[in-house]
């Protein structure tokens, strides 16, 4: 009796030890994951000469505002094409309008496929599934040449308008509508004399809010972060037009800037908005990833 008891205890003891070891490993992995960002934030608060003499420190300095000031000097004297505020505005315009268009029209397309019966319904859905995997790089030569021909380079139109057609998001919206949106409601609305568009806007959208929210967050983040499309279309690199990722990139191509503190501050400023959005919506985002397939 006592033998089996102690055996049991030993088993529990070894499990506890296992819990501790595994938790420790996970914590270490998490620390490694955020360490580069921590060093970034710390270095953006340190004086430039401190960083040159000692590149890595875990203790923040007091020079954050001085570094941002240096950065502003560089901007106003034309040494860099980085201007955080302009970048926020430009990236914000593109990210917000693409998010709005993507979510609204993907929702509409998914709704059309789920709610209505029509001849080409299956063909339309099969088409969306088939083109979902086509990478943007495959069409970008043709896209760019087409835009250059009709004079739409250096314009936001080719960056915003195509957001209306997002096959992957239609796919996910259709999945969630299929499983959570009862078609009986559409029937009921019709009997009450509610028009089809009104049903979509005043009944379906509010009911599908969670699904729309998840897709909106992903669309916003991926458009905010997008480097490929804006750098392809905004070929003249107009300072007033550049998005934040493009501006960050210009910091690297300039070797004459000696103040590392200000450089780190520039990178830090570029990731702050997205990190804030992430921390607010992290629960949605992690759940959204679990639903699968949000891959760029």
């Amino acid at each position: 009796m006592s033998v089996s008891m102690s055996k049991e205890k030993a088993k529990i003891g070894s499990l506890r030890a296992k819990d501790i070891i595994i938790t420790a490993i996970i914590v270490i992995i998490c620390v490694v994951s955020i360490l580069p960002l921590y060093i970034l934030i710390v270095n953006s608060t340190r004086a430039g000469q401190d960083i040159t003499s000692n590149g890595v420190s875990l203790i923040p300095g007091l020079n954050l505002f001085k570094n941002i000031g240096t950065l502003q000097d560089w901007t106003s004297t034309g040494k860099v094409e980085y201007n955080a505020l302009t970048g926020y505005v430009n990236s914000g315009i593109i990210a917000l309008s693409t998010t709005f268009l993507t979510v609204l029209f993907s929702g509409m397309t998914a709704y059309g496929i789920v709610v209505y019966d029509f001849k080409l319904k299956n063909a339309a859905y099969t088409f969306i599934l088939a083109v979902m995997m086509i990478p943007v790089q495959v069409t970008s030569v043709g896209f760019y040449q087409f835009m250059a021909k009709i004079g739409l380079t250096d314009s936001y139109i080719p960056l915003i308008l195509p957001a209306i057609a997002a096959p992957a998001i239609v796919f996910f919206m259709r999945q969630s509508m299929k499983s959570t949106f009862p078609l009986e409601i559409v029937e009921a609305a019709r009997i009450d004399g509610c028009g089809e568009y009104r049903t979509f806007f005043t009944i379906a959208i509010p009911m599908m809010k969670p699904a729309f929210a998840v897709q909106a967050i992903f669309a916003f983040v991926s458009n905010w972060n997008n480097y490929y499309m804006p750098s392809m279309i905004l070929i003249s690199r107009n300072k007033s037009q550049m998005t934040l990722p493009m501006m960050v990139n210009t910091i690297l191509s300039n070797d004459k800037l000696a103040d590392f503190g200000a450089k780190y501050a520039a990178i830090m400023l570029s990731i702050v908005p997205v990190v804030i959005v992430y921390l607010i919506f992290s629960k949605f985002i992690v759940e959204g990833v679990a639903l699968g397939g949000v891959k760029e």
Binding site: N54, V56, D117, F118, V136, K295
Partner: protein
């Protein structure tokens, strides 16, 4: 029976709305994706260099796949042969495809191993891990950060002079005598890109695999632990075999993603430095068409067509799996209804 016929009668009057709801998507998709796709196919048969276009048949593909100097005869205008108007492609596709595969394999293997172990730990009911949701949030964080900013950060940290943060540290500790060229070195920069890609994506893969493992019937694990199976045995005998479809799906989607790898290989460099050893297919395509003076649409488009074919083959797998998932979903739903 009566029900379906009733539906048919109703559908006649509302079908028009179905078309109206999906119309904007298709109009925009055709203009901004389908037409450019065909335009790419067309451009792949045209010459390179300035805006003049000339039909060259399969020459661009030949130049990309095999490489030949003979393409020079197809220059835009004969006078420009020796000029820098366009660069010849000398079997470039092999090189850039090799880079792409190498960078993908080098980030996928560590990523899937780490993610599998983490996902197995996170979902194991025998283990008591506190703060799981916080760990998941931290692990996914690198994926959400602007790739351009991450690239800039890593270039700063790993810069190849003694002032680069990491080199500075290693020199100070006396581990090295000369700074290591983490950014400019051939193998060093490749390894760095693999590490950065792993760092960016392992959280995403972990979360996806976790939801896969949680989809496995819990009674299997219960029965196994009653029979005295250890954690390791459970992992290899239950989790892995049952996770196979999801693992396969992860591999295929990651491969499709890997074929498009652009941001890190393009941005992880010092300024305007040319980085041929990490030039992926996507970077090659971009470098060739994205030139205001003399875009090489031909080579770029030909590489795109080759990329399209590869993606289509992989995509067909993923497509089939999505379809199966759909059908399984339906089946399960029906079963639930019966229950």
């Amino acid at each position: 029976m009566a029900n379906t016929s009733g539906k048919r009668v109703r559908s006649i009057s509302y079908a028009k709305y179905g078309y109206l709801f999906i119309l904007p998507f298709f109009v925009i998709y055709i203009v901004f994706q389908i037409y450019p796709l065909f335009n790419t196919f067309y451009l792949s048969t045209q010459s390179n260099g300035t805006t003049q276009t000339e039909f060259v048949g399969m020459d661009n593909f030949k130049a990309l796949m095999i490489g030949e100097n003979a393409t020079i005869s197809h220059g835009d205008n004969a006078g420009n042969k020796g000029g820098r108007a366009w660069r010849a492609a000398n079997g470039d596709f092999k090189r850039v495809m090799g880079n792409t595969i190498m960078l993908w394999v080098g980030n996928f293997i560590p990523q899937i191993l780490i993610s599998l172990v983490l996902a197995a730990w996170f979902t194991n009911s025998l283990l008591k891990i506190k703060g799981k949701s916080v760990y998941k949030i931290l692990m996914y964080l690198p994926n959400i950060i602007t790739a351009a900013s991450s690239a800039a950060l890593f270039v700063m940290l790993f810069s190849g002079t003694e002032f680069g943060a990491i080199n500075n540290l290693l020199l100070k500790w006396g581990w090295i005598h000369d700074p290591i060229p983490f950014v400019t070195g051939v193998s060093q920069s490749r390894v760095m890109i693999m590490i950065i890609q792993t760092w960016m994506w392992y959280g995403n893969t972990t979360i996806m695999l976790m939801s896969g493992i949680m989809g496995i019937n819990g009674s299997f694990f219960e029965a196994a632990s009653i029979d005295g199976a250890t954690m390791t045995q459970q992992f290899f005998r239950i989790t892995l075999p049952l996770l196979r479809p999801i693992l396969l799906y992860t591999v295929v989607t990651s491969m499709i993603g890997g074929l498009q790898m652009f941001d890190m290989p393009y941005l992880y460099k010092n300024g305007t430095q040319i980085t041929k050893h990490v030039e992926t297919v996507a970077v090659y395509i971009y470098n060739h068409f994205h030139s205001a003076i003399s875009p090489n649409y031909g080579y770029s488009a030909a590489a795109s067509v080759l990329l399209f074919i590869l993606t289509a083959i992989l995509g067909a797998f993923a497509f089939k799996m999505n379809r199966d998932k759909d059908q399984k979903h339906l089946k399960r739903k029906k079963q639930n209804k019966l229950l």
